[in-house]
Symmetry: C2
Subunit: 325 residues, 2 copies
């Protein structure tokens, strides 16, 4: 890939980072947002799948995008998720003219496992290494949210924060941004992506603007229980807390087989799970690899019977987020 | 007090507990429920004030109540908070005829620091010691909730659970009961009780049945942050998370001086705080004793100026709950 990048002329701007590197490649992870009862505030990163991005400093003003995959994503940076994130970063770099990005997406857009967040997070992390890590992780989340806005019209951070911080992250507040890393015990994650399209904007639109106070109380009992269960490494409490009385009952209608998958996965030993992000992917957490594999078999079985194409991922929680390679 | 108790005849029922004790005295603590963003799910116990209860086994059927204070609480156990809790316990004891209770309340009813919960929790803990601790803490919460129902018409556990378990407790769910002890760093608590009456039932009635989803999301971000902050012993995060966008804006209207007290206490160094339970008491958390004392001075100053009688308590979190003396 590297030979595709235009040579960077060192004389034009001050010497910049990455130990003298002129291009930085990263793996940017898929993420699971919402995590059942943590709508808009909780997310975690996955070790697989990942997107690959290579960022170089450029003498041309702005961001040049080279797509190295078959998704036909726009190369105009203003309407490209990665491009918008890099442009937001550029605005705060008076000493940098531009970036060149080579993008190789493996996470399918629209799958519900943070494809747009991976596109937004990876390039800004790579660019920051080129710039001697002048920006904090919180800054990088701020830049990457411009990418999310291109993708869904809303600046949300529940995929971006875990993509950049790794592990499980709580976004207590977006404005001002307040991200807290939540320690968690080892967890195995099984994801099934039934091949139907659920647009994030549609999945958001069908939600009711008002909720019953009594349902909200149940929900904040569960999110409190989930956070306590994660930090206390209490698997049973994690399982009991993975209950969503507000979002899931509405959104799950868009996902064929959802209730059957969820119930049968729990019967197979999963701690619990639900819709990943705004769907259509469904994730399940398990205590050990064998259970996670049994859960995958259940998922395959349901969608084979329904006759819907699908893809599965058997993975674990990614503790480091975007990884420089 | 003990000479006021009718002698218990040992021949009537099998030998029962407490190392042969025939009467058990306990101190039952005040508690702070809701804890700003944890409406109906969070509470903690205070080291001061406490109620005093002495329970004895009795040969008379049912519960006899002797009041040893000036509150003129009913002695009919069916409509007495302690009595209702002990009657609920008796129903599950085929080998016990009845209890005698001597009640000395120090926590003013209607203050908002769990007076009814102290009345419900203390006697069942004492009775359980007499019965060789045959019941679990979760059982005791279940019995004590019958007392709360007498007090406010609702079986809630957010004062009872911390009174019985001690420390900070999360009630993830009431039906089925799911109580989680939340580890917390040392915290100093300042409470001011302005001497006005706010009935729990009224404070509940003025709440809206519906809330905006966007407010609910803020609230569960904050409760998740508060639980994480407590367990991680992160005082700053605790302070940032003590924000309530749903209940406080409505209920605080019933408490004269609320906004001024809250703001000035934070200016004086308090981490944060808000309405204790359904009010009218206001609690503030501080990192150290000196700040908690400065906060008390601020509270006194505001209510002296308003010209409203008040009582303050300067205390810490009670880690053991109801204490046998």
């Amino acid at each position: 890939m590297k030979n595709m990048i235009k040579q960077y002329e060192t004389s034009a701007i001050p010497p910049l980072g990455g130990g003298g590197a002129r291009s930085i490649s990263v793996l940017s992870p898929a993420t699971v947002a919402n995590v059942v009862c943590g709508f808009d505030i909780l997310g975690f990163a996955l070790n697989n799948p990942t997107d690959e991005f290579t960022v170089s400093l450029s003498n041309e003003v702005g961001v040049q995008i080279i797509n190295n995959d078959d998704f036909n994503l726009p190369t105009n940076p203003e309407i490209n998720v990665s491009g918008a994130a890099l442009l937001a970063m550029l605005e705060e770099c008076t000493d940098v003219k531009g970036f060149t990005l080579i993008s190789k997406k493996n996470i399918k857009p629209g799958s519900g496992i943070g494809s747009s967040a991976a596109s937004a997070a990876g390039p800004v992390v790579a660019a920051n290494v080129l710039l001697n890590n002048r920006f904090s992780k919180s800054d990088l989340v701020r830049f990457a949210m411009f990418g999310e806005k291109v993708a869904s019209g809303v600046k949300h951070a529940d995929n971006i924060a875990p993509a950049i911080y790794g592990g499980v992250t709580l976004i207590r507040s977006i404005f001002p941004l307040d991200i807290i890393s939540i320690d968690a015990p080892p967890l195995h994650v099984t994801v099934v992506h039934p091949q139907i399209e659920v647009r994030t904007a549609d999945a958001r639109q069908i939600l009711k603007q008002n909720v019953l106070l009594k349902d909200a109380i149940k929900q904040w009992g569960n999110i409190a229980g989930l956070v306590a269960g994660l930090i206390q490494h209490n698997y049973d409490l994690i399982g009991r807390s993975l209950e969503d009385v507000i979002i899931e009952p509405v959104r799950s209608i868009l996902i064929p087989g959802f209730n059957e998958v969820k119930q049968k996965c729990k019967d197979a030993g999963a701690l619990g799970g639900g819709i990943s992000g705004s769907g259509p992917s469904i994730f399940m957490l398990s205590k050990d690899a064998a259970t996670a594999k049994a859960v995958e078999a259940v998922m395959k079985d349901v969608y084979n019977r329904i006759g819907l194409d699908y893809q599965t991922h058997l993975t674990t929680i990614n503790q480091e987020g975007v990884k420089v390679v």
